[in-house]
Amino acid sequence: MESTTAPVKPQFSEAAKAEIDRICKQYPEERRKSAMLPVLHIAQAEFGGWVAPEVQDLVAEVLGVKPIEVYEVSTFYTMFNLKPVGKHVLEICRTGPCQLRGSDELTLELERITGAKVGGEPSADGLFTLKEVECLAACGFAPVVQVREKYYEQLDTEESVNAMLSELRNMVHRPALPWEEKGLPNAVANN
């Protein structure tokens, strides 16, 4: 039977709303648009690690700007994922200093172990998305992978790579974000 209910419009959790209010106060009243990037980060964290078009529309609504102003920004900055992602997005640094210390080999190794392809769909188990990024400002501890707010460094041995992957595999919930300290909103508890 065809569904008769309209698609559910995404809504920020109360905790996220409070955080957005706090952030908007950091800029002059008439410059609310300044909160664009911080609010997009919150949106991405709230809604499964990516910003769907309707999530971007919600951001536009919250900031009082036109949706196009959000699309312009979300497509410019590489941290915002515009497609669904796996539970963990592994951002592998591929820039010079990391390449000198083996990032190409690390990328191949991660593709082999997870079965996901860089820049492609998440791994079959839905756990990992692999993404190559440019310098993460950790060049002296190369090669480096960033997963959400955590840096995994010196991934030049089998042990270090396995330790990272098993830590991620064993994570039932993602760590709570500061504004969610009172408990995860239902919408993201399983991300």
Binding site: Q26, P28, R31, K33, S34, A35, M36, L37, P38, L40, H41, L63, V65, E69, E72, V73, F76, Y77, T78, M79, F80, E91, R94, T95, G96, P97, Q99, L100, R101, V133, E134, C135, L136, A137, A138, C139, G140, F141, A142, Q146, E149, K150, Y151, P178
Partner: protein, 446 residues
């Protein structure tokens, strides 16, 4: 052992808390400035110190501050550039995460000097965990009365906020940073007007690097003249060098400007030599955008003098036989490094990070990447090297912001010093593309 002005207490347990930081002399510069000095006197000390911007260009900080327009009744801003995305550079991240209060203290003292009542730290989005460390420290500083209204009863008010980026190297360029802070794409603005006249929200604004601002408390505490005694000539004070690549001990070192490059690479106090007992081949001394130099030219100038870690000594010989101190991102490459591959990697970076506003940069960086990719993968032609050099030349000077040059210089320099290696790739594709292949010849020293 060199003196440590910024990082002296970096390993003290709990130094990221207000209490411990304060116990080690923290926030003295705020008390001294707000209670005993006028804003202009603070600017004067910074001028005397000879401090030069640590974000890359090395422009004198005191002079930059004195350019700030000060119309009556109009707010002005101090914005800290914590975007840190220059490949090879990772000092600001370390400084902020370990010594958040040092940056905050610097922001307060500097904002007072500039007459800013609202200041922002623009931090690259990848460093959200550092943003949380800074926000916690800022909350502590508010609670202790060092931020907010009427700081220490001086009548001076300051609000300080941290703002995350979204992953875009170009947002390190100061006008792109301001656009981004206004919630837009990070497209650099045409200059003039300069930020000192029309910056954030079209208000007068100073943009300074994290390390520049972190040096201000030291300068205010000890006096500009004391600071200027450290270093050599116009390269005063200490500098954080982030060392990476094929070194035994990569990491962040605070050096007194003037340490010989050879000592920096080989002594145990610093990088401890080249890993695996190999020989050094080349160095990119100031972040990926500065010209690469072969071993012989990074250790000694063309005149045979020892090269020093100073703005002047590193740039001795201009771009023909010299390079730049830049942001202090020191990338060492051992004898097995493929220069073509490395140059291609950097070109891919600049192509990826070009904001796309100007065609010489948008298209030119793409061509550089494409041609270098072709040579690296064994499909280069004899003409390619000259085409590369000419594309690089045509980007230079024809763009809105310096990212164009930053993309072109590494290519021109690699061709200048390692032309034989490019030719070898083109003439011996099968041999050059064998996994682990190493060019058997030597660099050209002109």
């Amino acid at each position: 052992m060199g003196r440590k002005l910024l990082t002296e207490h970096i390993n003290v347990e709990g130094i990221d808390t207000f209490e411990v930081y304060r116990k080690h002399g923290g926030y003295r510069s705020v008390e001294k400035a707000l209670k005993t000095m006028t804003p202009d006197e603070v600017v004067e000390e910074v001028k005397k110190s000879g401090l030069r911007g640590r974000g890359g260009a090395g422009f004198p900080t005191g002079m930059k501050w004195s350019f700030l327009a000060k119309p009556e009744g109009v707010p002005r801003y101090l914005v800290c550039n914590a975007d840190e995305s220059e490949p090879g550079t990772f000092k600001d991240r370390q400084l902020m995460s370990k010594l958040p209060h040092l940056l905050i203290e610097g922001m307060i003292t500097s904002s007072y000097a500039l007459g800013a009542n609202t200041s922002y730290i623009y931090i690259r989005g990848e460093l959200l965990y550092v943003l949380r460390i800074l926000e916690k420290a800022i909350a502590e500083a508010y609670a202790a009365g060092f931020l907010g209204k009427n700081i220490l009863g001086s009548g001076y008010d300051l609000d300080l906020y941290v703002h995350p980026g979204g992953g875009a190297y170009i947002c390190g360029e100061e006008t792109a940073l301001l656009e981004s802070l206004e919630g837009k794409r990070g497209n650099p603005r045409n200059k003039p007007p300069f930020p000192a006249v029309q910056g954030l929200y079209a208000r007068p604004t100073v943009v300074n690097n994290v390390e520049s601002i972190a040096a201000v408390p030291v300068i205010v505490n000890d006096g500009g003249d004391e600071y200027a005694k450290i270093g050599v000539g116009r390269s005063t004070g200490t500098k954080l060098i982030s060392a990476c690549g094929h070194l035994n001990k990569p990491g962040i070192y605070e050096i007194e400007l003037g340490v010989p490059v050879e000592e920096f690479i080989y002594s145990d106090e610093y990088c401890g030599g080249i890993w695996k007992g190999r020989d050094l081949k080349a160095v990119v001394a100031g972040g990926s955008s500065v010209p690469i130099l072969p071993k012989e030219l990074i250790l000694k100038t063309a005149a045979g003098e020892p090269r020093l870690m100073t703005y002047e000594s590193l740039s001795d010989g201009g771009f023909v036989t010299g390079t730049m101190l830049g942001s202090g991102g020191f990338i060492a490459m051992d004898e097995t490094t493929c220069i073509v591959r490395n140059t291609w990697n950097f070109s891919r970076f600049y192509h990826h990070e070009s904001c796309g506003q100007c065609s010489p940069c948008r298209e030119g960086t793409g061509w550089l990447e494409k041609i270098l990719h072709r040579i690296e993968h064994g499909h280069g032609t004899e003409r390619d090297i000259d085409v590369l050099a000419s594309v690089a030349k045509q980007i230079e000077g024809n763009t809105i912001c310096p990212l164009g040059e930053a993309a072109a210089w590494p290519v021109s320099a690699a061709i200048r010093h390692f032309r034989d290696e490019f030719e070898w790739h083109i003439r011996n594709p099968q041999e050059a593309t064998r996994p682990g292949a190493v060019y058997p010849g030597k660099a050209v020293l002109v």
